[in-house]
């Protein structure tokens, strides 16, 4: 029972990190059909930025996370305007090659500035201990877990209840009609791209305690993020959320119960789900 609870809690905590990183990609893919393999680059940028800010300025932990997310979001705007926006409507192959190029450049830059070895984030002492929830559970992961659920609730409200969210949903459903009734989808996209990158940065920074930053991070995390997005279905908020939960818990359980198989079942399950529902569990045809 206690191990079960432990697996569940740890699984949900890593699921929340995955979700925060992946949700931006889901929107990008749903809205612009842009195959952005380089999405985790922004998560890595957020992680390194938070680590750097904590080391150099000694600012409070929460502030460093927020600053890292905002910094990356701002940085993503010129990247989107100058590079990504030229490839909307280009073929899958060009988008794949371009984003692989972005990954290579980011790996090289990360290695140049931060060195090849993993860098850990210094979490505040107050969050280092264990919390007793029937089982002993790290306080920091509890915070991650809570942050994930709060972000999901916040985003759900933003997309379902605000005018911006309504425009976004309209553009995902049918971009041309949305444009015809006056939604400026290019601006909308720059905004959502920046938000998605900011969220990815936040996810990378929040998760840096569990997944330390290293130059190859964008490739290592890519598989998991792509699985969450494609299994969850494009252009929805709850799809990736549920997919991340299932993946996080299943991954933790597999590592605990059948470590000799590693991630094999995860990949096999993804293939099976995609064959059964090519648009993902919650995607619309």
């Amino acid at each position: 029972m206690e191990t079960l609870a432990g697996i569940l809690l740890n699984g949900v905590a890593s699921a929340m990190i995955l979700y925060i990183i992946a949700v931006g990609l889901s929107v990008t893919l749903g809205l612009m059909k842009f195959v952005n393999l380089a999405h985790c680059v922004f998560a890595m940028a957020g992680g390194y930025a938070a680590i750097w800010l904590l080391q150099k300025t000694g600012m409070p932990f929460a502030l460093a996370l927020a600053a890292a997310a905002i910094l990356v979001a701002l940085l993503s705007v010129p990247v989107e305007r100058l590079l990504y926006s030229r490839l909307y409507g280009a073929g899958d192959l060009d988008q794949v090659l371009f984003t692989i190029g972005v990954i290579f450049v980011s790996i090289a830059l990360a290695r140049y500035f931060f060195g090849p070895s993993p860098v850990n984030i210094a979490i505040p002492d107050a969050l280092r201990g264990q919390v007793d929830l029937g089982v002993q559970f790290p306080a920091y992961r509890l915070l991650v877990l809570a942050a994930g659920f709060m972000l999901f609730a916040f985003m759900w409200l933003a997309v379902e209840k605000t005018a911006l969210g309504a425009r976004l949903r309209a553009a995902v459903d049918n971009r041309r009609i949305a444009e015809a009734i006056g939604v400026r989808t290019d601006r909308l996209f720059t905004l959502t791209f920046a938000l998605g990158c900011g969220l990815a940065a936040l996810g990378g920074a929040l998760g840096a305690e569990i997944l330390p930053m290293r130059p190859t991070y964008p490739i290592e995390q890519l598989n998991y993020v792509l699985i969450v997005v494609s299994v969850g279905g494009l252009g929805t908020l709850h799809g990736p959320f549920i997919a991340a939960l299932v993946l996080g818990i299943a991954d933790t359980a597999c590592k605990y119960y059948v470590p000799e198989f590693g991630a094999f079942f995860i990949f096999a399950a993804m293939i099976a789900i995609l064959l059964w529902r090519p648009n993902g569990l919650f995607g619309r045809a």
Partner: protein, 301 residues
């Protein structure tokens, strides 16, 4: 398109034979290049002719490499038997995968090809009793080629062997793309709906192309395993898939000679620059990729 013999059909092979005498001390790199030429050629068949983008073509390269490698560890050391087995296994696996994944398109297709590669990589990583896992497959005993030619320490036999296999592979692909089958693949790439309308069995053709490309990739993998008498886990990596894709784009997709330009260029550049400084190499490679894509998609503003 004429299929008369062109300079580009002959020149690479002349250069490859010449290299044997000009660079006798770089035959290992030469063998690697020839293996990649064959692998990139198989991707060209898939991407350049049939128009299927795969992020996981290394799955079949790795399958062929492990097939030939494991056979030779278990006492079946004849290289040609290993080669045939690897080609058959990869081709069969390719047909099966093609039947399943080609029902989807776009992102889902990309994810499925990637997923199959990841699954195989993880399987090879974990099944250490069979594959050697992360340490690589040790103890390959490859018998002399045709029972006559020992694998010498300078890599001459390996080089000539890979040259011969790559050449046969090239002749096969060249014949294939100029055949009615190859022309109908190009038609499907250009407009699948119209090909369906004029009565071409689109799905069946694509599955066949997928199987053939997988077979060629498996043969390339087998040659790689036999020539270096070692199989490491990186034959099943996303990095290999990506690198081969980059080689094809550098050389030009859908032109057959793309593999002969892209593979040597990439391999020699990576051998030279990556030794000097892998960070700079990766940076400039990424910049080059971004540049190529931007150039291809430039529009008048």
């Amino acid at each position: 398109m004429s299929h008369r013999l062109r300079v580009m059909d002959v020149a690479p092979w002349a250069a490859a034979v010449l290299a044997l005498f000009v660079f006798p001390r770089h035959l290992q790199l030469g063998t690697q290049i020839l293996v990649m030429v064959l692998f990139v050629l198989s991707i060209d068949l898939l991407l350049g002719y049939a128009g299927i983008i795969s992020l996981g073509h290394a799955a079949f390269f790795g399958l062929g490499a492990y097939c030939a490698g494991i056979l030779s560890v278990r006492g079946i050391g004849d290289p040609l038997v290993g080669l045939a087995a690897a080609g058959a296994l990869s081709g069969l696996a390719g047909l099966l995968c093609g039947l399943v994944v080609l029902r989807t398109r776009g992102l889902t297709l990309l994810m499925l090809t990637l997923g199959i590669l990841l699954m195989l990589e993880e399987a090879a990583n974990r099944a250490a009793w069979l594959t050697g896992g992360a340490d690589g497959l040790q103890g390959m005993q490859v018998a002399p080629l045709l029972g006559l030619y020992e694998w010498d320490m300078f890599g001459r036999t390996a080089y000539l062997y890979s040259l011969a296999v790559a050449f046969i592979g090239f002749v096969f692909v060249r014949t294939l793309v100029h055949s009615p089958f190859g022309r109908s693949l190009a038609g499907i790439r250009e407009n699948a709906v119209r090909m369906e309308a004029i009565g071409a069995p689109v799905r069946r053709r694509l599955v066949a192309a997928y199987g053939l490309a997988a077979m060629l990739a498996g043969i390339a993998g087998a040659v790689n395993a036999q020539a270096f008498q070692f199989v490491a886990l990186n034959v099943l990596s996303f990095e290999l898939s990506g690198a081969a894709l980059i080689m094809l784009i550098l050389g030009g997709a859908g032109r057959l000679y793309g593999a002969f330009i892209g593979a040597p260029l990439y391999m020699i550049a990576s051998d030279t620059f990556a030794k000097l400084d892998p960070t700079y190499w990766l940076f400039w490679l990424g910049m080059l990729l971004i540049g190529i894509v931007m150039f291809r998609n430039r529009r008048a503003r």
